[in-house]
Symmetry: C2
Subunit: 253 residues, 2 copies
DNA sequence: GCAAAAGTGTTGCAGATACACCCATGG
DNA sequence: CCATGGGTGTATCTGCAACACTTTTGC
């Protein structure tokens, strides 16, 4: 990612790309029992930004978001959800950006004014990403949502709103499994809920609630390696989930 | 609203207006116990469209939506909520639109390709609108959501998604009062819920649920005029609502 | 006075919570 | 063998749906 590249992009690809609209992706993961988001830099040494990009005229915004995430993570099956549009007239001004970065030599006549951005949040398991980690740039990091560094533009607001949306969603839909490996245990799932909703829960009640929804398949395996009794492994079952939705099951916490 | 006006707009106002992005407003109201949406026409005799408009470079998308609704209804205090972005590459093509309408004489070189639209749904009390109804054009109507006429572009999809969002919201937030006059009765509120959620409810339970939330103020007045026992009048109380949110009250149906 | 609508009280059931108890594992 | 974590059963509590009963109004 390189700002000058972006700017030459703007000048040379007006036919293919809409430079008034972008997507910004808040990619969440959980590592060391902490909720984190992926950040990157436009210029080395500068402030952090969310991974994002402009939209090709031949694609819709979801496709653009998938493209951006694929480019960052190597994955193209990431859980993704649009949550808001950011359109403050002063949120992203090419002209002031270039001035701030001391790139005044660039001819800015053809650059658009305000850029409107569609915010997406995405969920991914940390281990899946590190598997394809080879392509990461140095100017990329996982930042704890409680300890965000200084961010450019309105990206802090975008992250905060993404978290609110994630919480609201998790409160009513069982989307947390997207943050876990394919096979996971109930204690792991509970830990996730506790981290995201920032609320301790009772072990037995939690488990019963999850099982009652009947959307997780219990495998004939148990998690080995840890000390103490080995917990069962579960897997999210898409078919069961569809059946549960048909039955109008409520997934509220 | 006039298509040729729009097109001359595009040509003459590129400085002020972003013609790649628009807002479309699904304005709901309830009349005769039916849920209806406001529709309009681009050209007399042509198909229906949702009220919408482009976005000034000096405003955000919410302001644009408020502007569009104010222009249609005379009201600027309408409950409004963004619900999705519509960006299919073929959803709105100026070029094919002009061709379809037989306006091929128009020079289309400067028109944008695909227009991305931000969808809003809005709620308004029917009586409030008719008060300022003088400025309505002939080519404007309230269409029942169950009997939609043929619509241009992807506007039918937008309405359907708006309804789903409205239902989902109403299921978890007490927004229905926006469709009622300031003072309303519990039976009226219940009727609304039944229309929107398309589900009959038990009178006594409904009333208790509403009162338990403690967000409606019971007035020392009763609704007169109808036959039978006069029901109490209530008013949505913003302060009480804030308190209830603080208390983490669940407004689920 | 009666029918219909609205307010209020009562009861029973289902779901959730809290707790208890047991089991398994590694150190 | 014991501390800890995990599975499962059970008692209790709560909320709410369903129903009953009462009150009020217009005709």
């Amino acid at each position: 990612m390189d700002l000058e590249k972006i700017i030459s992009n703007v000048k040379n690809n007006r036919e293919q790309i809409d430079f008034n609209i972008s997507v910004d992706c808040v990619l969440f993961t959980v590592q060391d029992n902490k909720l984190k988001v992926l950040l990157t830099k436009l210029l080395p040494g500068n402030e952090w930004v969310l991974p994002g990009g402009f939209i090709f005229r031949s694609e819709n915004v979801e496709t653009a978001a998938i493209r951006v995430l694929k480019q960052r993570t190597g994955l193209d099956q990431i859980f993704l959800q649009q949550f808001n549009t950011f359109s403050d007239p002063n949120r992203f001004l090419f002209r002031s950006l270039i001035k701030d970065l001391g790139l005044e030599t660039i001819d800015i006549v053809q650059l658009p004014e305000r850029v409107i951005s569609i915010g997406f949040f995405a969920l991914v398991n940390y281990e899946l990403i590190t598997l394809t980690g080879g392509e990461f740039e140095e100017d990329t990091c996982w930042a704890e949502v409680t300890k965000l560094p200084k961010l450019m533009f309105d990206h802090q607001i975008i992250i905060i709103e993404a978290m609110e949306s994630l919480r609201k969603e998790l409160y009513f839909k069982p989307i947390a499994y997207n943050l876990l490996p394919e096979k996971f245990t109930m204690p792991e799932l509970q830990k996730l809920y506790e981290i995201i909703l920032d609320k301790k829960m009772e072990r037995s009640s939690f488990q019963k609630k999850m099982l009652k929804w009947d959307i997780y398949e219990r495998l004939n395996e148990r998690k080995t390696g840890g000390a103490h009794k080995q917990p069962f492994l579960y897997r999210f079952d898409t078919m069961k989930y569809k059946v549960a939705i048909e039955k109008d099951i409520k997934f509220g916490m």
